[in-house]
């Protein structure tokens, strides 16, 4: 089985002092910060929030069973500068990993679409591992009316 929300919360409670300070930030900055911390806990590295990632999902969707997701990353996809992998997380799902997409430079472009399940309204987080070792991330809020994970 994959990574559960419980695992992540447990791991996070170790660094809870640092986390507590984040709660005094204003709402929007806090949501961004929580997503960054989530990615840090999952990958062990600090991501950079980037506008090169375009995660397009409906703001409101009637069912959590099949929410469309389109992910496009600005990248030349050359040998020197390409996207190696994109991971997608749904932090409020019972299992937070959604998918990871692996790309090959020159043969593909970093653009995929699929349909995912969401348990409740939440931020969906996408993290791109670039060829130079950096991590880029973005997130988008999706409001679903029904639980798609039962």
């Amino acid at each position: 089985m994959g990574l559960t929300r419980r695992d992540v919360l447990l791991a996070g409670s170790i660094g809870s002092a640092a986390l507590a300070s984040a709660y005094f930030l204003p709402g929007r900055a806090r949501a961004q910060d929580e997503a960054v911390q989530l990615v840090e806990r999952l990958t062990g590295r600090t991501p950079t929030v980037s506008d090169r990632l375009h995660l397009v999902m409906p703001a409101v969707f009637p069912t959590g069973y099949t929410v469309p997701m389109d992910l496009d990353i600005d990248s030349p996809m050359t040998e020197d500068d390409h996207v190696k992998r994109i991971r997608v997380f749904a932090p409020q799902n019972p299992l937070i990993e959604v998918a990871s997409f692996n790309f090959v430079p020159r043969r593909t472009i970093a653009h995929v679409s699929t349909r995912i399940r969401l348990a409740e309204p939440q931020y969906v987080v996408a993290v791109a591992e670039m060829s130079d070792g950096t991590l880029l991330m973005t997130k988008t809020f999706v409001d679903v009316a029904t639980n798609g994970c039962i």
Binding site: M1, L95, A99, N102, V112, S113, T114
Partner: protein, 108 residues
């Protein structure tokens, strides 16, 4: 039991260097392992956990799927037409099931 029938949609001919859109879908329940049957027993997890596209024998694109991918997983991605050759699409299921599809592409 319904038969699992994967499908892909992409052109059979392309110009060299062209970007091709590939649409793939496979009819599959994607059973998460969270549901129970009428007797209260857990229905075991059974999902397609990996999708691979090979082009001329080399792996060019792959996806690791988890429980949060919808039933009948649909994946749309893009390939660059580099040479004429065979495209292979492979779906791997829990318990070792494998579904394959082949597609010939002519690049002029």
């Amino acid at each position: 039991m319904t038969t699992v029938a994967p499908r892909v949609l992409l052109p059979s001919a392309a110009a060299k260097g062209e970007i091709l859109k590939v649409k793939s879908i496979i009819n599959h329940q994607m059973e998460t392992g969270f549901r129970h049957d009428a007797q209260g027993r857990v229905i075991p997890r059974k999902i397609i956990h990996r999708f691979v596209c090979r082009y001329g024998g080399a792996e060019v694109f792959s996806v690791d799927l988890h429980e949060a991918i919808s039933a009948n997983p649909f994946i749309e991605f893009y390939l660059r037409a580099t040479e004429s050759g065979r495209l292979e699409f492979i779906w791997e299921e829990d318990n070792g099931g494998v579904y394959r599809l082949e597609h010939e592409l002519t690049v002029a």
